[in-house]
């Protein structure tokens, strides 16, 4: 038996550490390049007309995202309106009411599996269930909101469960001890205590809804819309799909418009997440 060289054993470790640092730096670099290059490409188009104009397929300098922004805000707002109550309710049930057993495991597994379904499949669901007969809502804002509701639902449930779990048991016990019912306890004590986490969950859902493209394409989002979708049942376009449309058009001009749209999109995401952090800090400070 021969001893192994201590040097060779140490070398592997050093190589790994160097490799890992190199990869992490490279990843950071790629992210910086990604964001930077999009900003640079978008630069010439970043002016107010970008968000006030209607889209154009012929002249990039006249193209804008006004209908898309309206559509996005509309769709996301509606999605949150449906998904938040539904998701929080489900989360409350699973965390506070559900007895251990077969049914609960099934429900919990259902949530987990729904989260793993590819987003295009949600698009197909929405197409067949909402857009086409029998419901025949058409490729409309309401159909989009319903579809996205199902898509973000698992995320709201999971973050709700996590927030509820973080609330100390003593809070519930104290409330029950003075005679409050389970629901009174949950509504009056537990949910307010879990509010910061619930807020984070809402923002997560909104961010996901903002960024989704594929299911909305499948649903039939229009790409050249001349009227902002003020009507729930009107054809609609969202920011992400509009950007996708511009990517498909030839020429550096349209590339710039697409990049500018992404800047707007990322800006919106940043705003949402920033607001969420601020709000959560304030809520946590109050307690």
């Amino acid at each position: 038996m021969r001893p192994r060289s201590r040097q060779s054993r140490g070398v592997r470790e050093v190589l790994f550490r160097i490799g890992a640092i190199a990869c992490l730096v490279a990843a950071l670099g790629v992210l910086a390049v990604l964001l930077g290059s999009i900003l640079v490409t978008a630069a010439p188009m970043l002016r107010p007309e970008l968000v006030t104009n209607f889209p154009s397929t012929t002249n990039p300098w006249r193209a804008g995202y006004w209908p898309a922004i309206v559509g996005t805000l509309y769709v996301v707002a509606l999605t949150l309106l449906f998904a938040l109550p539904l998701g929080v309710a489900a989360g409350i049930y699973l965390e506070e009411y559900a007895p251990p057993g077969r049914l609960t495991r099934l429900l919990q597994a259902g949530v987990a599996n729904l989260a793993g379904v590819p987003s295009v499949v949600f698009g197909l669901l929405g197409l067949a269930l909402f857009v086409r007969p029998p419901l025949a809502l058409g490729p409309s804002v309401i159909a989009a909101a319903l579809t996205l509701t199902l898509l973000v639902f698992p995320y709201v449930v999971v973050t709700t469960q996590e927030s509820l779990r973080a609330v100390p048991r003593s809070l519930r016990e104290a409330s029950l001890a003075i005679g409050a019912t389970r629901w009174q306890t949950i509504r009056g004590q537990v949910v307010p205590a879990a509010a910061p986490g619930l807020l984070t969950g809402s923002i997560l859902a909104a961010s996901r809804a903002l960024g989704e493209t594929a299911p909305l394409i499948v649903l039939g989002s229009v790409v050249l819309l001349t009227i902002p979708p003020w009507d729930l049942s009107a054809p609609f376009v969202v920011l992400s799909v509009q950007i996708y449309a511009f990517i498909g058009l030839p020429g550096a001009g349209f590339q710039a418009v697409a990049a500018a749209g992404m800047v707007v999109l990322l800006g919106m995401l940043l705003l949402f997440n920033g607001l969420a952090i601020v709000a959560r800090n304030r809520l946590q400070r109050k307690r």
Partner: protein, 310 residues
Amino acid sequence: MAERGEGGGPVLSRALPERRRWAGAEGAIHAALLLAAGVAVLATVAIASVLFGNSLSFFTAVSPWTFYSGSVWSPDIRGLFGVLPLLVGTLVIAGGAALLGIPLGLGAALYLREYAPAWVRSIVKPVLEILAGVPTIVFGFFALVFVTPALQDWFGASYFNGLSAILVIAFLIVPLVSSLSEDALAAVPSDLREGALALGATRFEASVRVVLPAALSGIGASCLLAFSRAVGETMVVVIAAGVHTDLHADVLRPMTTLAGFVARRATGDLPTGSTLYQSLFAVGLTLFLMTLALNLVSDRLRARFREEYA
């Protein structure tokens, strides 16, 4: 309101009707919440029935055998519905992305857990979270406009090519693999690591020869989940890899996946019930079953992992 009855004790009869009303409200709330929790299962059932329903009609027009073994997908022009090119494309692109992204994510997790000083962690973890939150069209755009030209110069790739998608999707799944693997590594009790160190192992040897194998089922679960994510990735494929549906595995040429195809082809003008329309659902069904299988196996592995270290 309790009254003193004959025997001197309180009579609660007046209180009972109110209590029953409360019970009703509590029960109704309980039921409503239960229903909400069931939405996920209902949605899954809805997805399955929509996919199966349309696919079954489709399979009366085009036999499953032709569908799954056909190597030509040219529904509009030649009426041929062979899904193999899409399947191969999915395996090549998702598989390639997983082969690249999983080791990177695993290495990142190992490094972050074992070696990274606190300040490095405080930079890297938020960056990974940001990465995970960027919409995929941004990645698709990046692939087309910045990665592809480089590939065109160095490897003679075409404007739409599979490699661009592979590279970017690999990058995209690193945060997922990293965070899930880190959780798995953290679940391994520290006395195993200490035992290895006490025998004279270096930190690297302790991590790789003891902690990693101990976390294997948890890490396996995360790998499957990452692969499933890559299979479902749509926008990067649509934007960067193209729509080409010939059967081939040349990553330097355009190719598409099951997901990419559905997004491209569903342009809203397909009449309900037409074979073309239903073919989308047959492709969607294949995609759904693939990711479902991967996710279920991943769940099974994760459950086994939790048993070991709960």
